[in-house]
Symmetry: C2
Subunit: 359 residues, 2 copies
């Protein structure tokens, strides 16, 4: 497994259909803006950094069709509407727009293409840096000669990014450095990104791991079987409140109750300086069918969808929750660890740069 998003012989982006993993490895072409928008909305691609990259590609591809200001804004709006919570999407779209807006219409598509490529390279480099900083923070937490015991929620791995992952970047760095470790993988209902994606990519790299129900992490912490929790994030408010996959808040509460560090891997692009606190972050509610049905592999090797709930029982499916800053030990950015408060966040390089700010 090289990068999660790469370009084919035509120089156009292709990626894995993550709704088919882990049982089927299907490559999908993202050859026009609509394919990008659909891939984000249906979660063929997911993870804040990867959504941002696919959004940037979508805008670049839209400009191949029409690149005047009206077409630019229309494509921007279509792509921005696909997922509301992750701020990287708007950040990446704004970055491409800012790069092309001063240019003549005829030059915009090529410039946007170059910007999408650059954004992908920068994401990989950013995550590698998070990996190094996280490694330095986590390695001293290993105790009693046993493997370092880490717990993660959802998938903030290679599959959520162009490369390395955010929360999983330090785990890969530790593993490659030969540090003995073991990862508790929350299955992450309702879409099971942990059980299907994190378990799969850790397995591909030979990282020891065990899948657990989302319900189990608290008890494992009480039993002293977790040294740290590390998760990604979809948007961080300027006060340090963290929006991430639904269920993150419960793990942060349990980490606090048991004196365990709770770390959030946080590229600067996920910080929203315009969100005063978590209440300003929109929480996406998704189709209840994601909860009431599930896909898996049957005994004949076919991937099938089954219904889990009785007919007539409705479901509600909020996709994210907000973890208050007071429960976060460290944000790990590409510039190093950062305390979750406004003064520390505002001091981060790149945050105030208008070409990097959200739209």
């Amino acid at each position: 497994m090289a990068r999660t998003l790469w370009t084919d012989d035509a120089g156009l982006p292709v990626t894995w259909d993550q709704t088919r993993l882990p049982f089927e490895q299907v490559v999908i072409a993202l050859h026009d803006a609509e394919a990008c928008a659909r891939a984000i909305a249906t979660m063929q691609v997911r993870g804040a950094p990867l959504i941002g990259a696919v959004g940037a590609w979508g805008l670049a591809l839209a400009l191949r069709e029409a690149a005047d200001d009206v077409a630019l804004q229309s494509a921007f709006d279509r792509l921005a509407a696909t997922r509301p919570t992750a701020v990287n999407l708007r950040w990446a779209l704004a970055r491409v727009r800012a790069a092309v807006l001063p240019l003549p219409v005829a030059e915009r598509a090529a410039r946007a293409h170059a910007e999408a490529l650059r954004l992908c390279d920068e994401d990989a480099a950013c995550n590698a840096a998070i990996g190094r900083h996280g490694q330095a923070l986590l390695e001293p937490l290993r105790r009693d000669g046993r493997p370092l015991q880490l717990l993660t929620h959802c998938n903030a791995g290679r599959l959520a990014t162009i490369d390395h992952g955010t929360a999983l970047a330090p785990i890969y760095a530790l593993h490659e450095a030969g540090v003995a470790l073991h990862v508790w993988v929350d299955e992450t209902r309702p879409r099971n990104q942990g059980a299907s994606l994190t378990a799969w990519e850790l397995g591909e790299r030979g990282v020891p791991h065990t899948v657990i129900a989302d319900n189990a992490g608290g008890q494992l912490m009480r039993e002293g079987r977790v040294d740290a929790v590390i998760v990604g994030c979809d948007r961080v408010a300027i006060n340090g409140d963290v929006a991430n996959k639904i269920g993150t808040y419960l793990k942060a509460l349990a980490a606090r109750d048991n004196g365990i560090p709770f770390l959030v891997a946080c590229p600067v692009s996920t910080i929203d300086p315009q969100a005063v606190d978590g209440s300003a972050i929109p929480i996406e509610t998704r189709d209840p069918a994601e909860l009431t049905r599930i896909s898996g592999r049957d005994d004949q090797g076919r991937v099938v969808s089954v219904q889990l709930t009785p007919d007539g029982s409705p479901g509600l499916n909020p996709a994210f929750d907000v973890t208050p800053a007071r429960l976060v030990s460290w944000l790990i950015t590409e510039h190093g660890p950062c305390r979750p408060d406004a003064s520390a966040l505002r001091a981060l390089p790149g945050l105030a740069d208008p070409t990097r700010g959200p739209a």
Copy 2:
């Protein structure tokens, strides 16, 4: 739906196979001790009070085959080993044993049969009392003219008991009294007792409810959409620590963090005076296949089991966790609300009665 366990024309116990609900309503005969043991071990019956009742029936049925002291103890041990965490099982077995031990061998089977019937009647009456006490505690929590918003985890309903349920008994009492309410039903991975059993039995009775992922409850509490959490319990230590379905502890933490009452429906039979605190309660670890596979109904209406995790990714499946007494607002017993501390628990009627104590 009348009682969850009833007797057929032969006077022998029958019940629902709860592994087949909600999609198939299959009645199973519990006509010998082995059928009772197997039903408990495979979770065809589950829920601390129901396990206790089926255990009592199992011992009574064993005595029809052989009723000498050696056979009695052998059947006791076989049944007690089926599930380790719920204390009701040992309590119910001990109660039947204590009733028959002083009798001549020839009279034991009939006496045990009568005791099993009596235990079932008492369970129904006990839960009805919990329902009344819980109703009185919950009704004042309704606010702003909106329906009372309750959250429950796992199934502590009619299906977990002979009748009424424990945690759901107050909900049925409120609903029957015409109090507007709505129940958030945690799906309760890995076995989905909430999504499959609680949703089904609330639907049968017309109680408004919505199924949510176990991950969602914290965010709903943060948004002010939960007035109280009410759960059952499998065993309560004498200091008030509560062992219940895995994930309960996380909801208790979230309730505390949001100032929401956390109530535990607790028949006196679930209190273990010999467990000094939660660390003395054995936590059952079950087959990881309960986590890595799931059953549901496919598009052809067939109930099928599918695999959720990649080949080669192991799972761990602790079935219970311990919620510290400090997070519990009230235990609701058949004698009324009780604070979770040793002095209050020791004062409960019936606790010190040696014929009711655990073996």
